[in-house]
């Protein structure tokens, strides 16, 4: 990462912030998809996450890695969106509108192989059913493309704990996706 761009972004330069964000947006949007499971909510969370990130720049301490610090902010934004998503779905369910319960995981690639698309969707659903810490560990490791050490730093725990989360997550995902493991 260009330290000069980071310094300008920390001073409030929006153009520098934009350059900074472009490098990270792929992993952040994948993280949002992991947590939220559909394109619309992922894009909303991504947009809100960028705004939260910019507003939090003043609190960024240069000794902490930007990757882990920014990923934590994005992840927290996604988790807040998921809470809202869950309570919105509960309200819609209460109003007896079955159509409103549908459409959580949308695939925008109409030309994708159907089975691959189904597997991807099943994986997204299985990830969203993991306990919060395991889900965060898995999302940061695979979608955030972080090392174990970076995940540990982001989650404020030890590397051993992260490995334990990943072990258990893989065990649970294997059970949830057993139909696809045949």
């Amino acid at each position: 990462m260009d330290q000069d761009i980071l310094r300008k972004a920390l001073e409030g330069d929006l153009a520098a912030f934009d350059s900074l964000v472009i490098d990270y947006q792929d992993r952040w949007i994948r993280m949002a998809m992991s947590v939220l499971g559909n394109h619309t909510d992922a894009l909303d969370a991504f947009q809100d996450g960028l705004i939260n990130l910019y507003r939090s720049l003043k609190s960024f301490r240069s000794e902490a890695a930007f990757t882990t610090w920014s990923s934590r902010i994005m992840l927290n934004t996604c988790l807040r969106h998921r809470k809202r998503q869950s309570s919105r779905r509960n309200r819609e369910a209460a109003y007896g509108d079955p159509e409103a319960l549908d459409g959580v995981a949308e695939s925008q690639s109409a030309d994708k192989d159907l089975l691959d698309s189904e597997r991807a969707r099943a994986l997204r659903n299985a990830i969203s059913n993991l306990p919060p810490k395991q889900q965060m560990a898995v999302t940061l490791k695979y979608d955030g493309q972080m090392t174990i050490a970076q995940v540990a730093q982001t989650l404020n725990c030890t590397t051993g704990t992260v490995k334990r989360y990943l072990h258990r997550a893989i065990g649970k995902l294997k059970i949830e996706l057993r139909d696809y493991f045949k």
């Binding site: 409030g12 894009l43 947009q47 960028l50 409103a100 994708k112 994986l123 174990i148 490995k163 294997k174």
Partner: protein
Amino acid sequence: MKKLCRDTRNLLMSDAAAGKLPATEKAHFETCDACEQWLRDYQTLNAYWSLAAGDVPEESLVNAARQNALRQLKTENGRPAWSLWLHYHLSWRIAWGVSLAVVVFVAGIYVGVLMRRLPSDTVRTAGKAIPHWILRAIQSDSSGLQGNIQVEKLGLPELLAYLVKFDKNAGHRMNSVQELASLEDDQMAEQALIYALKTDTNPGVRLKAIKSLALRPINRALQDVYIYALWNDENPGIRLEAIEALTPVASHRKVMETLQFVASVDKHEGVRTLARETIRHAEIS
């Protein structure tokens, strides 16, 4: 789990690809059935992850979201911190406070005029076919009347319209909307249902209101309120009902333009689909 199994699996997860494992650990996978199975499952999950990683929004949409965020940040830049704080934390409260004050003021005037016109009296039931639940609602605290109303001086539509507009109990408002649906030729009933659809805070009441209105032949006022609901109602069930109700007039220019817009931008997939189908049928017929 044996220590060697645990250590080997940990090493694998520590970002080392299976092909790069040290010889001892690599040999372990070939001799331990449990770890070999674990490795296969792990590699299968990695393959699924590659599939899931491809299921992301188009780059143009992600870039658009990024630009939206930057635009919002640009408008915030330069504003003093206290101004931003007010904007995000208090402005909606101020707006709600003012709106509530206006509503209370208007309601107070309405009740005052009503009570000046009517002698203050207890609820009478003689000679009037008023359902019991309406009498109870009028007598309840939520209506704000405390029974001070002469039922035989008011028609059923007026009573129901009052409950729809002012009763704090959503159940009373819901029942009132349902009762108003049976008064098909009554203009006041239609106005009360329109009011409920546009302003009630309870989506169940709004849903019942739009279903009741849909039983009536569509007119200009109803067309406008269905279009209003399509633009403004946050509940997708109500927006779906609005599209259904607009079907007879889907070919009208204003309706068609609204449906075309909804078909492309509504947040709910079911709403977009129904809008597209309605447009298609209107174009065919």
